[in-house]
């Protein structure tokens, strides 16, 4: 199993969610995040004083998936989250040792 984490632009959430649902992903977790990549943030000006906003608001979407599906799901997320402009975010996957469904106690792929 893999945990796919995607940091995306907040307005892309609906598209990413829809794309994942179409692919058959049963559940996901969304949390607010902020950060920056190579391009850093942006500059705002208040009464002539510059304010550098390094930490840009993002959403973190996490999905637990079967190993076999991981690459396809990453593709789906990347396509849905892409605008082509800077700050589109990142997607990565890490191996997961154990998953347990809290309600039933099922483990492994059954718990996804």
């Amino acid at each position: 199993m893999k945990l796919i984490t995607a940091v995306i632009k907040p307005f892309k959430l609906d598209e990413v969610k829809a794309a994942l649902e179409t692919f058959g992903v049963k559940g996901l977790t969304v949390s607010e995040a902020s950060g920056y990549g190579r391009q850093k943030g942006h500059t705002e000006v208040y009464r002539g004083a510059e304010y550098k906003v390094d930490l840009v608001p993002k959403l973190r979407v996490e999905v637990l998936v079967d190993d076999a599906d991981a690459d396809d799901i990453i593709d789906v997320i990347v396509k849905a989250a892409q605008t082509g402009k800077i700050g589109d975010g990142k997607v990565w996957a890490v191996p997961v040792e154990t998953v347990i469904r809290v309600r039933t106690g099922e483990t492994g792929p059954e718990a996804l």
Binding site: E44, V45, Y46, R47, G48, E50
Partner: protein, 446 residues
């Protein structure tokens, strides 16, 4: 004297308009503060209404607007303390036919907003109790004397305060009494309290610009009462003051955003709101003495000058948090001095001719004296009051409280419930013990 219902009606309305300016200041300043200290910022304005309102009735009005006998050049007397005897529809004996109590209330609103204006210099870091004590002392020994100097006129020519009745400097609605005074006091308090933690590395951006625009709008609306109400009648002078209050503000708001576009690349909402306030400040002393075109010119100058002036604090290194000095002190000075250039008796016979109307430099000189006297008295006395409060009860909150946010540490409240994708779900909040046992509704998590 018989009551004039038209004049009285306009003054009653004006008084309510001017009172609305202080909540306007609360929004203007509150929006510019950080989210963790917006309530404290707004509270400082509201408490000045509470404290100064009472002071005004008990002794403030009397000390500012009655004859002080031998000390009449500098301060009034106690004849009207507690407003005793003013209830019976007594009218001002200046021919306006306004009940004295209406004038008392009108002037109370001026004292209130002047105190509230100062608070912008000490955002995020003043002990609330110290601020309350400060408002009480400051209005008593700084505002009241200056109001008397400029605005009290005795029955005979030349009788009254030394600036207005004495040397004949003009301040129609409070350029010196309100704005230079508040600005100089703000500078003194900013020096007493010192910089906010993290300033100027972090310019502490405004947390709610719509609040700032709302506050500026309320100020502009209320300012028609401030300036046109100062005519003390529903008359031609009020009309001049009214149109000039509109036009100078347009000029200044426009000039500020042009400066921003040239200097910073973008015209901002904070800029147009700030420019509007600067224009209102600048036209205040001059509103009944200049022509409408003069008002536009004054506004353009004030807007541009103040847009540059607000950056002075970074160069000089004092943390006037919300630019009370750059907007009110500088705007007030520019407006007061421009009277000496733009004033004309063609608009108002009670005024005087400035440089352009052929009056020479005499009026400009008088204006300069009134500006310098107000600056010096307000700055020095406020510095002393501030230091004394700092040495006795302490004026500044602890560093820990400042970082945590003064709203929660001083007032046990916070303005916003942050931090959830489901707005209002209360993530991160603490639920009180469930009241379900006694049948009260329980909180449902979204």
């Amino acid at each position: 004297m018989k009551i004039d219902s038209g004049n009285t009606a306009w003054l009653l309305v004006s008084t309510a308009l001017v009172l609305l300016m202080t909540p306007g200041v609360a929004f203007f300043y509150g929006g510019m503060s950080r989210a963790k200290s917006v309530l404290n910022m707004m509270m400082m304005s509201f408490v000045s209404i509470a404290v100064v309102g009472m002071v005004w009735a008990v002794y403030g009005y009397s000390l500012a607007f009655t004859d002080g006998g031998g000390l009449n050049d500098f301060i009034g007397g106690f004849d009207d303390w507690g407003l005793v005897g003013l209830e019976n529809a007594a009218t001002l004996d200046d021919g306006t036919g306004i009940p004295s109590l209406v004038f008392v209330a009108f002037q109370a609103t001026f004292a209130i907003i002047t105190v509230a204006l100062i608070s912008g210099a000490i955002a995020d870091r003043a002990k609330f109790g110290a601020w309350v004590v400060f408002t009480l002392i400051w209005v008593t020994i700084v505002y009241i004397p200056i109001a008397h100097w400029v605005w009290f006129f005795g029955p005979e020519d030349g009788e009254g305060g030394w600036i207005g009745a004495g040397i004949g400097a003009l301040d129609f609605a409070g350029g010196t009494v309100v704005h230079i005074n508040a600005g100089a006091a703000a500078l003194a308090l900013a020096l007493v309290l010192g910089k906010r933690k993290g300033w100027p590395r972090d310019p502490m951006r405004p947390h709610n610009l719509p609040f700032v625009l709302l506050g500026a709008a309320l100020l502009w609306f209320g300012w028609f009462g401030f300036n046109a109400g100062s005519a003390l009648g529903a008359n031609g002078t009020a009309a001049v003051a009214f149109i000039n209050t509109l036009l100078a503000t347009c000029g200044a708001a426009f000039a500020w955003i042009v400066v921003e576009k040239i200097r910073d690349g973008s015209s901002t909402t904070l800029g147009i709101a700030s420019g509007a306030v600067a224009g209102l400040v600048g036209i205040t002393p001059a509103c009944a003495f200049v022509t409408p075109l003069g008002a536009i010119a004054l506004g353009l100058v004030v807007g541009a000058v103040c847009a540059y002036a607000v950056s002075l604090k970074y160069k000089l290194g004092f943390d006037d948090s919300l630019d009370v000095v750059g907007v009110h002190m500088v705007g007030g000075i520019v407006g007061a001095l421009l009277i000496g250039i733009l004033a004309t008796t063609a608009v108002n016979e009670a005024g005087a001719d400035g440089l352009l109307a052929g009056g020479g430099v005499s009026l400009l000189g008088k204006q300069a004296v009134s500006v310098l006297a107000t600056l010096a008295y307000s700055f020095i006395v406020t510095l002393i009051i501030g230091k004394l409060i700092d040495m006795t009860m302490g004026f500044r909150i602890s560093e820990e409280d400042e970082v945590a946010g003064i709203d929660s540490t001083a007032h046990a409240e916070t303005a916003y419930d942050f931090g959830s994708i489901h707005a209002g779900a209360g993530v991160g909040g603490t639920l009180a013990p469930s009241p379900a046992a006694d049948g009260a509704p329980t909180k449902v998590e979204a």
